[in-house]
Homo-oligomer: 114 residues x 4
């Protein structure tokens, strides 16, 4: 019904929604950001067709978001940059999450056949 490229884009979207809603709300500070980045990337890479995930939690934004005495905040999309590469049936899809007008937007960067 759907083309291979459309299916690959569907898979790419699943990974992004999964990553975001599994980990949003996790307590995070600059000192715990590295282990969270690694866990997010490696856990989502388990999913089918997911070739690579890179997560960069931005310590400067985390520091700005800490507004109380406890020294941590909760993970949201505005605190991180994410890039993913999905590959399915010879179609590679690159996606990323980037800030657009103050809102973290998930977007398709490229769709390429072999």
């Amino acid at each position: 019904m759907a083309t291979d490229a459309q299916e690959a884009c569907f898979e790419a979207g699943i990974k992004f929604g999964s990553l975001y809603h599994q980990f949003a709300g996790t307590p995070v500070s600059p000192s715990s950001a590295r282990s969270l980045e690694a866990a997010m990337a490696e856990s989502i890479e388990n999913q089918p067709f997911c070739e690579s995930v890179t997560v960069e939690i931005r310590d400067d934004r985390v520091a700005d978001a800490i507004d109380h005495e406890n020294g941590y905040t909760e993970l949201t999309g505005s605190l991180m940059d994410v890039e993913m590469r999905i590959e399915r049936e010879g179609v590679a899809v690159r996606t990323r999450m980037a800030m657009r007008d103050g809102y973290p937007l998930m977007e398709v960067v490229s769709v390429a056949d072999d």
Copy 2:
């Protein structure tokens, strides 16, 4: 870069990954399944391009999954049927989650231009 149909499929995937990983692990019993179905559908329908979501938590499967004294289990993909309709730039995408070989599979049902 991506076609409108590919973008619509990406958006459809985001909604599915979001729904699954936001709510997986929620305590559920037959008596609380109706409110959870409603909350899952209405919360995901807030997301951009998401026209409709239907979630059916299968009470028979919930009952089978309750294996301890406490009378509840945790929500997983195998306990529910989900259908979604995404629409973006005139492209409508229908998706569903269905059991395939004992594993809940998210799939594209149709992609249709206006």
Copy 3:
């Protein structure tokens, strides 16, 4: 090892952490807030020793938190008031989440033996 009252307070804490981290990040708008309140309360009431949960998502705060075109925000502690009653071995514990200095604080309201 622990007293009945201490055990009851431990159970009360579990319910609060569960509720918060299961549902934080859920897309929410004034029109979807009622179903989310019901699902949160009913799902956590499934847990052992949990007599009652009330969740009030504050529409005024949700409206203030919506800062982009899409018409929704993500659930955080600052958007809701929560009260719970736990009962275990004749000890009743009342807890609530309330805003304190701009930070949502979970607190024990009372611990009472039969």
Copy 4:
């Protein structure tokens, strides 16, 4: 209203519920288990009064739970052992999650004043 020991037990419960419901449902395999253990421990250690958290995801149980072609499963309480140490106002609380009759039970191990 509550004693210092009761408050410490409440805090201990919050951490357990948080850890469980933040991370339940995360895709996990033996190769990604180490980074997930680290992220779980370090993120929850950010929370107030949380002195230490150790998470051991049991690779043998993960391997047994992988029942499909994709090579991963979703994190549940039965796949891990957790220990925590909470300290508040001079009261130290030790807690753990252990399997009891096939069900992962969170429990207080000890409550000790200075």
